[in-house]
């Protein structure tokens, strides 16, 4: 039985095993060269002596932390991890203090802005801001990056076992209509918006629809689909598909990249469904309660350096929002269509931004889907 390590918790974990071994050498090599220029290119304002990150697990190259630490000797850098946006929000809302930086996904940035949990970004402290591609500075969740800076982006789709489904799969239609044939051998993400949004796309509606009729149709579809679902899981599905315990599984592109990076690579293929799907952006954000917002800005600016961004992509296997970083990405992932989809596929993707009413309805539908 292949286990992709027991602490594998989120979509953010890449290259946990085999690729880390080979990639590590590259990282070390490019890490050394990245350090010098980054140090001189980044003016360092006086900062206090602690930085606390609250991040998805294995979503930050340890070399990046080491290099930042070298620039700021004496600063205590600590990182805690979480497994979902909702877990993170629940903990911050419950009054968790002491964190400077969190990594919410776009829709969660909007929620956190509305709840007044985020510290405004001071662009004068971010000399590397200009490297960010234009389209990531005009996102609906935070136009103009007033509260967040893009970190990585990717898609929600599904992966299937080529040995079990030789004819292949291409669409949400395949995903839902092949279900009786693979009864109990199907896994979906544990998230209301992913599950309901994908169903809406299958039915030909918007990922973010809040139309009552459309949502009630989605609910009927989901309740009919439910008996065939074997797993509702956002953490362990990589193991399920890698071991062949499921025939196909909803998931995030990077997770399937991680599965394919195993040796020997399992016969798994990731699909961005032809009807379209979700396009998500994870961001760096500073908490209103941050003990040291200046240090937080310095850290984010350090990461925004294209060399460091490249080093991050080499580690996480996710697409980052800087075209300038491409020369520093060494493992060929810029040519991988599951990481950097074609413009044609990109055109069919939507970001996850339901209205409050739509969110409530999604949560109710999802609660019933889970209970059924």
């Amino acid at each position: 039985m292949k286990l992709i390590t027991a602490h594998d918790l989120s979509r953010r974990e890449f290259l946990a095993l085999s690729a880390a071994a080979s990639g590590g050498v590259l990282l070390a090599a490019c890490g050394g060269s990245a350090l010098g220029p980054a140090a001189s290119a980044t003016p360092v304002p006086p900062i206090e002596n602690a930085l606390n990150l609250y991040n998805w697990s294995q979503y930050l190259n340890p070399d990046t932390l080491t290099q930042f630490q070298k620039l700021h000797p004496g600063m205590a850098i600590k990182q805690d991890t979480y497994a979902s946006n909702e877990d993170m929000l629940a903990k911050i809302e419950a009054g968790a203090k002491g964190y400077d930086i969190v990594v919410p996904t776009g829709y969660m940035v909007k929620i956190m802005i509305d709840k007044k949990l985020l510290h405004p970004i001071d662009h004068s402290l971010l000399s590397n801001y200009s490297h960010i591609d234009k389209r990531f500075t005009q996102s609906g969740y935070d136009y103009g990056n007033k509260y967040s800076l893009p970190k990585d982006w990717g898609t929600t789709g599904f992966g299937f076992r080529k040995d079990k489904i030789p004819q292949g799969m291409t669409s949400w239609k395949d995903f839902f209509e092949m279900a009786p044939k693979f009864h109990g051998k199907i896994s979906v993400l544990d998230g209301a918006n992913e599950v309901v949004g994908s169903t809406l796309k299958y039915l030909g509606y918007s990922y973010n629809s809040d139309n009552d009729q459309q949502l009630s149709k989605a609910k009927d579809t989901l309740l009919a689909f439910k008996p065939h679902v074997g797993h509702i899981d956002s953490a362990n599905y990589k193991n399920l598909i890698a071991n062949g315990d499921v025939a196909y599984s909803m998931g995030w592109n990077g997770d399937f990249a991680a599965v394919l990076a195993l040796t020997p690579a399992p016969p798994v293929q990731y699909v961005v469904p032809s009807e379209g799907s979700e396009f998500w952006v994870d961001t760096w954000a500073i908490l209103k309660t941050a003990p040291d917002p200046i240090a937080a800005h310095a850290f984010i600016n350090f990461i925004l350096d294209p060399k460091i961004e490249g080093q991050e992509a080499n580690y996480t296997y996710y697409a980052n929002p800087e075209t300038d970083a491409a020369p520093y990405i060494t493992n060929g992932i810029t040519k991988d269509p599951t990481v950097y989809p074609s413009p044609e596929v990109l055109g069919k993707l939507e970001s996850n931004t339901p209205t409050p009413k739509g969110q409530r309805m999604r949560d109710q539908i999802y609660a019933e889907f889970k209970a059924a």
């Binding site: 629940a90 544990d190 209301a192 439910k226 071991n243 209970a371």
Partner: protein, 277 residues
């Protein structure tokens, strides 16, 4: 004054939290978590509208009952053996029963995932012996959860049983034998009635926490919901619907109170009539 610590304890660790749940269940959820001060019966209406929740409540009670019965069926012979037959090995066996529980509950439950997986050692063994063709298909099901809870709750049953069996006056068993009772009659008419307090406590200790079990079904259960605890957790953590989650929790509390009242009434009748014999 002497009652102050107990009263304080009762208030802050029991009455206040339950009071919150009760009040929340009649209010409205704010968007993305939190509570709005707006009275509403909607949470209970939502619960009644769908048959889904009713099914999960039934399944939870069924699972708790089945787990308790299994623990009793396995635990009684085990405790009986420990108390009467183990002799000088008794302490060793007791330690063996406890030692696994020094390991994290989570780790032990995850271990079943490996043992019983479709590609795990048990499946391999059965396939090699030609007893199994295809997948084992045991995990992520009702029976997997039942196995997990029985395994995890067994000591809660064994220890009260062991204590009451240990305290059993062996001379009474000899007296029964002298009076012509066979082994089975002695067991049924002397041993069981005299250890009834242990049985009753053991069942209670297993049944009540089992009704709220959350971890085992989330690891060993699949997509189908069998336990209400997981639904309540989901309402609070991922759906951010505290009001509806509170309503679900209130229903569990009421069901438990009713079941326990019935249980104690029945128990009193059983113990008094058995002992009268």
């Amino acid at each position: 004054m002497l009652l102050a610590p107990a009263t304080f304890w009762y208030l802050f660790f029991f009455a206040v939290p339950i009071g919150f749940i009760l009040v929340f269940s009649f209010l409205t959820s704010a968007d993305f978590g939190g509570i709005q001060l707006q009275f509403s019966l909607d949470n209970y209406a939502q619960l009644a509208r769908s048959t889904v929740y009713l099914r999960v409540f039934r399944s939870t009670i069924g699972m708790a009952a089945a787990g308790t019965v299994l623990c009793l069926l396995i635990g009684y012979p085990l405790a009986y053996f420990l108390a009467t037959r183990a002799g000088r090995w008794k302490n060793l066996f007791l330690v063996m029963l406890i030692v696994p529980f020094w390991t994290s509950f989570l780790t032990r439950t995850y271990a079943w995932l490996i043992l019983l997986g479709d590609h795990g050692p048990l499946a391999n063994l059965l396939q090699r012996a030609h007893l199994l063709h295809g997948d084992l298909n045991f995990l992520y099901s009702y029976k997997a959860i039942l196995l997990g809870v029985t395994y995890n709750y067994l000591p809660l049953m064994v220890f009260p049983l062991y204590v009451s069996l240990e305290r059993l006056d062996k001379r009474l068993l000899e007296a029964a034998k002298d009076l012509g009772a066979g082994r089975w009659a002695t067991f049924r008419r002397v041993t069981v009635p005299l250890t009834m307090p242990g049985i009753l406590i053991g069942c209670l200790l297993v049944f009540i926490p089992l009704m709220g079990e959350y971890v085992v079904p989330s690891i060993l259960g699949g997509a189908r919901s069998f336990m209400i605890g997981n639904l309540i957790g989901g309402e609070f953590i991922s759906a951010h619907d505290w009001a509806f989650g509170s309503a679900l929790a209130m229903v569990v509390i009421v069901i438990l109170l009713m079941l326990i009242t019935i249980y104690f009434r029945a128990a009193r009748r059983v113990t008094s009539s058995e002992l009268a014999l």
